[in-house]
């Protein structure tokens, strides 16, 4: 059983590392130590399929659960082995390399406290840091920055948050000042948006459906006329389809890294990437999810290279509002689920491991008989990063950054 073989060691790791790092004498002022930490949060909007990204290839129920859609070590293409139990989607060679060198960690079977299935509300909980949606207009990262500012714990020159994109992600919105940067080329409507619109038209307006279908056909042939930023003065056409998505991810993430790397730049930042709601044709080892994960992997590479020296003091947390169903649905995709993964990368990370209290994949082990059961509260991971990397006090974390989370202890040992 996966549970028997893996849980003890993972439990040990969690408990052990928690105890190890819960020093009462932990230096509280990052600057006083000569450290200058950076934290970038990337929100994957649409609920990433954690199982399709990081597959439990050692779980005996895995292959049968996903059938020929299961990511496998001997699949086509083969998954990239992480440890004896988990393997990474082959679209992510950079992440694999970082993981092998201890600069990446993966948290599996994790979730926010949100247990419903609405993206909007799920994102609200994820970014606000409050277990109920719609309560506040500020995000946990902004409140954490405020707490650090008041204690003089961050370089005042960088006492701003960075928001990438024309909409500042909620996670960095709030009373601490936010500087924003909007990529020159905005991402055109995703394939997913087009598919949904087409579906809507097919039910409501056949004429519009025909037109949209023609456009999509043209785009698939590589001749999409609708590329680029439609509001831009510069009509230069960007490359079509996934190449455009890759370019956008890399440009946006790379720019975030350049700002965070500046001596007088912001120290925390956030950005969002859309497109993870893979209801149809998810295609873990090729297709939608594979393409997006590849683009995300390219964004990781851009961050690493653009961070320069600051890479060693950087942590990037990649989180999503919830996961997807454990089983494949009728349209070769997955539906809204609960447990998923979080990626952590950065030179400051004590990585090289998949952190999971693995719940198992038998029907009775699934959440509501459909989702990967969440066993790790994502807030524990984030609180661990904020405490040990940015040196935010534990009490502040429990009171104002993630209000009402006293029970959720920060996960220790994430940063080296």
């Amino acid at each position: 059983m996966g549970f028997d073989h893996h849980l003890p060691t993972r439990r040990e790791l969690l408990v052990g590392s928690g105890a190890l790092f819960a020093w009462s004498q932990m230096p509280r002022i990052a600057r006083a130590e000569g450290r200058d930490p950076r934290l970038l949060v990337i929100v994957l909007r649409g609920a990433l399929d954690g199982l399709g990204a990081v597959a439990p290839v050692g779980d005996p129920d895995w292959a049968s659960l996903r059938g020929d859609r299961a990511l496998l070590l001997d699949g086509k293409p083969p998954a990239l082995p992480l440890d004896s139990f988990f393997a990474l989607n082959p679209a992510m060679p950079n992440l694999h390399r970082l993981y092998k060198s201890g600069k990446a960690a993966i948290v599996h079977a994790c979730a926010t406290p949100y247990r419903e299935r609405s993206h909007f509300d799920g994102q609200d909980v994820l970014e606000s840091g409050i277990s109920k949606p719609g309560v506040t207009a500020s995000g946990w990262l902004n409140r954490a920055l405020l707490a650090m500012e008041s204690g003089g714990r961050v370089d005042p020159r960088g006492s701003r948050a960075l928001g990438i994109g024309s909409v500042t992600p909620l996670v960095v919105r709030g009373s601490a000042p936010v500087m924003t940067w909007v990529p020159q080329k905005l991402l055109p409507a995703s394939e997913d948006t087009q598919n949904r619109l087409l579906d809507l038209y097919q039910h409501t307006d056949p004429k519009l459906a025909t037109v949209l279908q023609a456009r999509m056909k043209l785009a698939s042939l590589g001749g999409a006329p609708g590329a680029g930023d439609p509001m831009s003065d510069d009509p230069t056409l960007a490359p079509p389809g996934i190449a455009r998505v890759r370019a956008y991810f890399a440009e946006a993430a790379g720019t975030a890294a350049r700002y965070l790397a500046k001596p007088d730049g912001p120290r925390v930042g956030a950005m969002g990437f859309v497109g993870w709601d893979t209801h149809i044709a998810e295609g873990a080892a090729s297709g939608q999810l594979y393409n997006l994960l590849g683009a995300l992997d390219g964004a990781f590479a851009a961050i690493e290279s653009n961070m320069g020296e600051a890479w060693n003091e950087t942590v990037v947390a990649v989180v999503t509002e919830f996961g997807r169903t454990a089983r494949i649905n009728g349209t070769q995709g997955t539906d809204h689920g609960t447990g998923t993964v979080a990626f952590l990368i950065g030179g400051g990370l004590a990585g090289g491991r998949v952190i999971a209290d693995w719940p198992g994949l038998k029907p009775a082990q699934l959440f509501e008989d459909r989702d990967l059961k969440p066993t790790t509260d994502l807030r524990a991971v984030l609180k661990g990063l904020l405490r040990d990397h940015l040196r935010v006090e534990e009490k502040v974390l429990a009171d104002t950054v993630f209000p009402g989370s006293t029970e959720v202890k920060p996960m220790g040992g994430l940063v080296g």
Partner: protein, 491 residues
Amino acid sequence: MSNAAKAEVVLALHRFGMGPRPGSIAAIGTDPRGALIAELDRPLTLTAAASLPTSAKAYRTVADANARRTARAKQAQQQAKKQQMAATQVAAGEQSQAQSEGQAPAQGQEKDAAEMAAKQAADAIPDPGRPIYLQEAKLRTEAALSAEIGFAERLVWFWSNHFCISANRIQSMSGAYEREAVRANALGRFVDLLLATEGHPAMLFYLDNLESMGANSTAGINRSRGLNENFAREIMELHTLGVRTGYTQDDVISFANVLTGWTLVPPGADPTHGGEFTFNPRLHEPGGQTVLGKRYEQEDAEQGRAVLRDLAAHPATATHVATKLARHFVADEPPPALIEQLAKTFRDTEGDLKQVAIAMVSSDDAWRGPPSKLKRPGEWVVGMVRATGITLVDPVRYTGGQQLLGEPLWRPSMPKGYPDDEASWIDGVGRRLDVANNFAERITGMADPQVIIEDVFASEIASEVKQAVGRAESRQQALALLFMSADFQRR
């Protein structure tokens, strides 16, 4: 409010107005037809336009800038030539042996340097036409966004397109033209609208009448030049009678002769009246003319005005205008009974455009059909922004979006104006998706799709749309799907 009543309110806002905005459904209440009619009694003037130049002033400003640009360029060119020549002479004195070979390239350089200097000097004086155009666009769009219903604004847009000019030819005047000639008369009598638009310098410029001269006029004889038929033809074909309604080529020529002398005061010639309409008798073909069987003997601009008055009163004009109105507002193939009703009102009231508009919204025929019209890009964009409650406009972004969607503001490619049928616009729906997606991304933080559905549209939207919006992966996607839905694009 019953569901049927609510549906009619929403239809009123989409079909005759600029689309629902927060609070508009409640404001119209249970009597959408009455509310549409009541809106016609409010003044159509743009109060903020007081700060904008008149068309003549705008035209003079641009002409002045152009003149200064030319002068500066000449000056810079001459200076550069002098300097280059002096440099060449020095070089020649020092190295006389290289003179014969060196001459040609030195001359080439001299020319390049002079041209570059001229261009730089010219570019140092910015074109004032574009900022004026953008300011006008901003005010016009803000009026559409802040109108309660927007029926009156839609009528301004309709008539502006009917009597279109192009900013590609006369950018400085394009906004002021609409304000001065169209907006001021859109709810008045058709004949006044006709006289104001055809007599406007922007129209005379656009339809090439400035240089049109009678073959027997003083200027025509002296310069051996003559008539331009364009203006007369478009007035009959597009603005009044409609194509193939019985006028002949001889009518066009006679009418063109009538219109000779309709021109404007040269902008440089008069610092206070440059750019204004003037009748120049030296260009005017002398004598009487016969148009549509009637003789016009007047000697001056009154001759043209008399023809225009008769064209305005012609029954073919009533039918033409009624058909276009019904096609624009109601259906690509409007009910014949509705067209006849509008044409009759037009004839009975001597072209009272407010009465025609009232007749349209009072007729059941205008409400009965399903929402089959595809909104034009301009309506759709404004509708989208209205739904979010935003009332301020970045004119660069707005006009850029309009251009991308194939309906650049005040820049139709032909005097016929922008078409009004689905076939002309449906292929642009893909581009609309780019714009919707982009706009949705910009406003996700401020607009909640559920609130728009419930409060702005009073849930008068297909259940499929509600479902798609509810299931979207992000607010941005939800908004894009909502704005792209048939419920939002059709009216």
